[in-house]
């Protein structure tokens, strides 16, 4: 079924990211997503960046569909189906939220008094939701050194004692997640990672999002570290829109 709701407000977060706020009376867990349809254009997966009574979609502009979505005005409708996917597991105790690029969008519902954050981006103005953490609970890294540590997300993680967290939640592009996984492999830590791949159906039938026989849209997008470590395709190959296998550079 396609839900259509009118948005309450459209907030600019960074030069390339907007957040759409709305009411939708359905239970959603952190880590789940919806397939968002822009009639006349396309349909794209979007994580919920708020999962309480008020819901939110945080849109990174990169193509026609996401651009159109980021221009929706208060009172106008958005169209989506879901929620889909396996949520992050809940834990009691200290958590670390690690978001690269627009990855912090799907981690945002996990922000509470026990959470610390690591936010990485190309440059200062692209750091997403860093202001939602208390100043002493956030580490920032930028590729160009315009804010925080000059370097990538792994350079930021090096500064942190990861073992002391009950759970580390990670979200970002596959290449970034791969670097995190390589960095922590062999260490005794609890980590869940939300992966990103192209999705066409969102419901586990089209095979466009699969890794090692798992469907990101139904078995994921969140996976435990031990599962990710078994994946032969992860960070190496994926299927293009046509189904042709391509290698990551």
């Amino acid at each position: 079924m396609i839900n259509s709701v009118r948005i309450l407000r459209n907030e600019i977060n960074t030069p390339t990211v907007n957040s759409l706020y709305f009411h939708w009376d359905v239970r959603v867990e952190p880590g789940q997503f919806v397939m968002t349809w822009v009639p006349g254009l396309s349909e794209i997966p979007m994580s919920l960046s708020l999962t309480g009574k008020e819901k939110c979609l945080t849109v990174k502009k990169y193509g026609d569909t996401s651009n159109a979505l980021s221009n929706v005005k208060p009172g106008e409708r958005i169209f989506f189906r879901g929620p889909y996917g396996k949520p992050f597991s809940k834990v009691r105790g200290k958590t670390l939220l690690v978001g690269g690029g627009s990855g912090m969008a799907s981690l945002r519902p996990l922000i509470d008094q026990d959470a610390s954050g690591v936010v990485a981006a190309r440059s200062s103005d692209e750091l997403l939701f860093k202001g939602l953490f208390p100043i002493d609970k956030i580490i920032v890294a930028t590729d160009d050194g315009s804010e925080g540590i000059k370097g990538n997300i792994v350079d930021a993680l090096r500064e942190i004692e990861l073992e002391k967290y009950e759970m580390i939640y990670v979200c970002g592009p596959e290449r970034m997640i791969k670097s995190v996984v390589d960095f922590v492999a062999g260490r005794n830590i609890n980590m869940e990672l939300s992966l990103e791949r192209n999705m066409k159906c969102g419901v586990g039938i089209c095979d466009s999002c699969s890794i090692d026989g798992f469907q990101l849209c139904t078995d994921g997008p969140t996976f435990g570290l031990s599962t990710v470590l078994t994946m032969k395709e992860f960070g190496r190959t994926k299927l293009a829109e046509s189904g042709k296998r391509i290698w990551f550079q």
Binding site: W37, P39, G204, T218
Partner: protein, 302 residues
């Protein structure tokens, strides 16, 4: 009580159970097919493959309103030259992989079938029935002369079994089934042409507007198709369309199906649907006192 034997065979292809993964559902990526085969499907049919790489339609490619499920994926595929590796990976499961192909004429079908045979498939399934791509599928599958030519051509060109998958979107199914009677088996049915309009955006949901209806809504059409063909022809039939339970499969088998394929039910039950339907079939056979599938195959035809 001894456990029933649910194995079956289609010609020389032996299946540990009658449940085959249908073409177009989780069968582009070799690792995916391998996982489904390891989780209970007895064989897998690949996504339909053509001569050239194709991206398919842009999303939305599905319009879903439970139990309605309509797709217009648009035959995305990597092109025949790029599927060898995927089939090889899938075959590591040790179970039969069937290569589905689509083309615009007899020559394309022959070339595609030859390549599939090279890749080591156990059979080739001719998709004569995709309902939503112009120039392929139904436009071919609705023309008995073309169907006869394609089936004859492919049969003459390869030594592996040839299955023909037919469309229910025709005036007279028996005409087409007869035209395809050189096949080693018929696969019935592909999706039924359908459409969904969203009343708030006032637009068709699918980017292609028209798509193919599948899932439980089409099971009666599938049952009727299998029954009609088996009442008139002596040819193995593989039943497909709306099978979600072992009991649905029994219905197809009683209409005369040798095996069945499952697609859309993966949306409802995930890959685990294959162990679910297997358990249900065993439960039915146990409670009704059947030791083998042959004991009730086609029983409703009598």
């Amino acid at each position: 009580m001894s456990i029933s034997d649910i194995s079956t065979s289609i010609g020389n292809i032996n299946l540990s159970n009658p449940f085959i993964l249908a073409s177009g559902i989780l069968d582009e990526n070799g690792y995916t097919m391998k996982r489904i085969l390891s989780e209970g499907a007895s064989a897998a049919v690949t996504k339909s493959i053509g001569m050239e790489e194709r991206n398919g339609y842009k999303p939305p490619i599905v319009a879903i309103d439970d139990p309605i499920f309509i797709n217009a994926v648009g035959l995305p595929n990597p092109g025949i030259l790029n599927v060898g590796e995927e089939i090889k990976t899938a075959r590591e499961s040790g179970k039969p992989v069937i290569g589905s192909i689509f083309g615009k004429d007899e020559n394309e079908f022959i070339e595609l079938a030859g390549k599939m045979e090279e890749y080591g498939v156990s059979a080739v399934e001719l998709n004569l029935s995709c309902p939503h791509v112009k120039g392929f599928g139904s436009e071919i599958g609705g023309d008995p002369n073309l169907v006869r030519k394609i089936v004859k051509g492919v049969k003459g060109a390869i030594s592996k079994p040839v299955w023909s998958k037919l469309s229910p979107n025709v005036t007279n199914l028996l005409d087409i089934a007869n035209a395809a009677s050189d096949s080693d088996a018929l696969v019935l049915i592909n999706t039924v042409r359908g459409m969904k309009i969203d009343i708030y955006s006032k637009k068709p949901v699918l980017s292609n507007k028209v798509g193919g209806l599948s899932g439980s809504s089409i099971k009666p059409v599938g049952i009727r198709s299998v029954y009609e063909v088996k009442s008139n022809m002596d040819i193995p039939v593989i039943g497909v369309g709306g099978i979600e339970s072992g009991f649905d499969a029994v219905e197809y088998i009683m209409a005369g199906a040798t095996a069945v394929q499952i697609g859309t039910a993966v949306w409802k039950y995930g890959r685990a649907v294959f162990s679910k339907v297997t358990n249900e079939l065993l439960e039915f056979m146990g409670s009704e006192g059947y030791g083998k599938i042959e004991e009730f195959r086609g029983i409703a035809l009598k």
